[in-house]
Subunit: 83 residues, 2 copies
């Protein structure tokens, strides 16, 4: 059966403080990396989907992301089909 | 100054066990989501870069990802410029 990969990216909303990303950003100059003004850290989920990734499958995955992978009070998510 | 966004995706190598992803995958049928044969969970970093994202800047970010964002013994990373 063909298997397709769908990626769900989950990031904190822009207005939510991101201490992990800030810690990375603050460490960069000490490590010799300048010119990076902001870092945000989030999660990436790679889902292997059995069968075709049609509109119905994508709608299901969007629902899955909304109810289970992301906390939509504080996080945004994006669903992408990977070629 | 123009600001560009560069994304660094960090995922466990395929041969490394991913208990977080497995926990998600095992929970899916219970939650009513079928047809997903594998889930891998990784990290996504969004870097805001001051100035142009030219080859030199990308080379620096690749070095940063390799030495600092990813543990290349167990993780793969990918650097992408976001439009």
């Amino acid at each position: 059966m063909p298997v397709a990969r769908v990626v769900v990216d989950v990031m904190l909303k822009p207005e939510i403080l991101d201490p992990q990303g800030q810690a990375v950003q603050r460490a960069l100059p000490r490590l010799g990396f300048d010119g990076i003004s902001d870092v945000r850290q989030g999660k990436r989920f790679e889902l292997e989907v059995d069968g075709p990734v049609d509109d119905a499958a994508l709608a299901r995955i969007r629902q899955l992301a909304e109810t289970f992978l992301a906390n939509t009070v504080i996080e945004d998510f994006a669903v992408k089909v990977e070629s």
